[in-house]
């Protein structure tokens, strides 16, 4: 067997073949772009869901979070007595504790008087409980009775509050038959379960939600002294506190929220399935294109075989075609997905964000999709007996 090392620059057969049929090339690129856009969207929605769901959690100003042992998520809460928090305050290493009240409260859209539930967060205005710039800047205004901070990222259903407030208008509306005044804006993205947020003081919260009892809180934020060890304090709390509450690090609190959405709601499964479907649709498109391409060129490939080209040469040609298609389809697919992310962001306020990991992952999926299709399509090629073409 002689080793073939052509000094001549080899012909780029795969590209020449793809380029010759412009219409087919465009259809193939469009098909792969479409599959990529579908995958990006499913992943984008999933990512937006999870990152928006834990924005509140990450904003808590404390290393340890306490909830009722029956709380599962911001949309599946149970209350606990704030005495547990004060018990925790007595443990070595704890610097301060802050209770948070959470409840959906009926908000009247000041423009059309429609009633919408708004997710209201009640905090002690004397403590920095939430690391959210807008809340920190206006926290002390919440000492006044019937004052609230409104959410910049909230949906249109609540009225164009942010725009009007920013233009200097004084906005009052009605919550549970009390006139409340907007004192500032803060940024917290809506989630799949929460449309908009309101921040107010604990005192105001109980006024607006008379059905809630003071002293029964939803979340406790525990801030530690700088030299305290989180795990040691946590272990101490777990041994000292009754089991009607649970304590965890802030990160674990966020992880539990994500786990709730991904495992205990249809959402995680839905989007994962969406990615799989998009992958299959894309594979079918690429396969169809490559298969008809191989079939159409079968006599030509058989001629090449007769001339002494190995099967491997032809397999490489088809695999190259599939990878060229993958790259050419991926570029517009990514661009379109970025555009749709922007549009979705504006339309829904969901934090749709592209990250490099996802781009790499979708590209790998595209390459796999194309290679698998190519592998199935070339089975036809390997059966092409040069003797059968004459």
């Amino acid at each position: 067997m002689t080793k073939i090392t052509p000094k001549k620059k080899p012909l780029f057969l795969s590209w020449l073949q793809l380029r010759k049929e412009r219409a087919r090339l465009i259809v193939a690129i469009a098909g792969i772009s479409f599959a990529d856009v579908l995958m990006f969207l499913q992943m984008g929605f999933r990512g937006a869901l999870f990152s928006s769901a834990v924005e509140f959690h990450h904003s808590l100003n404390g290393e340890i979070v306490m909830t009722s042992s029956r709380s599962r998520s911001l949309i599946s809460l149970d209350r606990f007595t704030d005495r547990r928090l004060y018990q925790a305050a007595g443990i070595t290493g704890v610097a301060s504790v802050s209770p948070i009240y959470l409840n959906s409260i009926q908000w009247r859209n000041p423009e059309n008087k429609e009633i919408w539930d708004i997710y209201t967060i009640g905090i002690n205005p004397e403590h920095q409980v939430l690391n959210i710039a807008g809340v920190e800047a206006n926290r002390e205004k919440l000492r006044q009775p019937d004052t609230v901070l409104f959410n910049l990222g909230s949906r249109r259903e609540f009225g164009a509050i942010a725009e009007r407030f920013q233009s200097g208008e004084a906005i009052t509306t009605e919550i549970n038959e009390r006139q409340v005044q907007i004192q500032g804006l803060f940024k917290l993205s809506p989630t799949f379960g929460i449309n908009a947020y309101l921040v107010t003081s604990d005192v105001n919260f109980l006024r607006m939600a008379p059905f809630r009892q003071g002293g029964l809180v939803d979340v406790g934020v525990i801030k530690l002294k700088p030299d305290a060890d989180v795990q040691v304090v946590l272990a101490e709390m777990r041994s000292r506190l009754p089991d009607d509450v649970k304590v965890m690090t802030r990160d674990d609190y966020a992880k539990a929220e994500v786990a709730f959405w991904s495992a205990s709601t249809p959402v995680g499964y839905t989007f994962d399935l969406g990615v799989v479907i998009a992958f299959i649709v894309g594979s079918v498109i690429v396969y169809q294109i490559l298969y008809s391409d191989v079939t159409d060129h079968l006599p030509e490939y058989a001629t090449l075989k007769a001339m002494g080209f190995r099967d491997r040469y032809l397999l490489i040609v088809v695999f190259q075609e599939s990878l060229i298609l993958a790259v050419l389809g991926f570029i517009p697919g990514t661009a379109i997905a970025l555009g749709i992310y922007q549009i979705t962001n504006l339309a829904t306020m969901l934090p749709m964000a592209m990250d490099l990991g996802r781009i790499v992952f979708v590209f790998i999926l595209t390459a796999i999709m194309s290679s698998v299709s190519a592998a199935i399509a070339v089975r036809k090629l390997q059966t092409a007996d040069p003797a059968d073409i004459f």
């Binding site: 002689t2 052509p6 000094k7 001549k8 080899p10 012909l11 030509e300 001339m307 002494g308 040069p386």
Partner: protein, 185 residues
């Protein structure tokens, strides 16, 4: 090219060939014995269905040998592997009935294809490609695709590797044409 000069170009002994399987199995070649020496031009004739093409494809290493012996340029093809058959084909030029040009390559690139499996330098390849194009009168159409070629297209039917040791023709007039242009080829 690895060829054995002392052996005949093609040597066939007790060759049988069948198509179909089981009860549909039909013998098309019966005990063929044949020897073709180097430099010979052999013309094979016979009625339709007599097995000319079958024999030609067997001699061209395009089809596996079932029974009997067949060697091309000293290489036995009975029980030859796929790779051995592929390498044997590199010593053979085929001139088919239908044109088998690659439609997505220009006239120039079609000839260039034949050089893909040979060790040549870029300059050498270019000279050889241009010589062939001149010989078939396509030097001004080298960048045309097969679908845009009319007259010269017949002369360029399939990319024939040069310096092959064996040429197999599927049609007489193609052979006659090549003999006329022998000096150029």
């Amino acid at each position: 090219m690895v060829t054995n000069l002392s052996k005949p170009a093609i040597s066939i002994a007790n060759l049988n060939h069948y198509y179909g399987q089981g009860s549909l199995k039909k013998q098309v070649l019966f005990d063929i014995n044949l020897q073709i020496n180097r430099g010979e031009i052999i013309i094979m004739t016979g009625p339709s269905g007599s097995g000319k093409t079958t024999l030609l494809t067997l001699m061209g290493s395009l089809r596996s040998i079932q029974e009997g012996n067949l060697s091309i340029l000293g290489q036995e093809l009975l029980d030859a592997s796929k790779e051995q058959m592929t390498l044997a084909r590199r010593n053979i030029g085929y001139i088919f009935q239908a044109h088998n040009l690659l439609n997505f390559l220009t006239a120039y690139q079609n000839i260039e294809m034949a050089l893909e499996i040979q060790e040549v330098t870029a300059a050498e390849a270019d000279t050889r490609i241009r010589n062939i194009l001149n010989a078939v009168g396509l030097e001004h159409r080298m960048d045309y695709y097969p679908s845009d070629l009319s007259g010269g297209r017949n002369e360029l039917r399939s990319p024939v590797p040069w310096s092959v040791s064996l040429k197999l023709f599927w049609q007489m007039n193609r052979l006659l044409h090549l003999i006329r242009n022998r000096d150029e080829m």
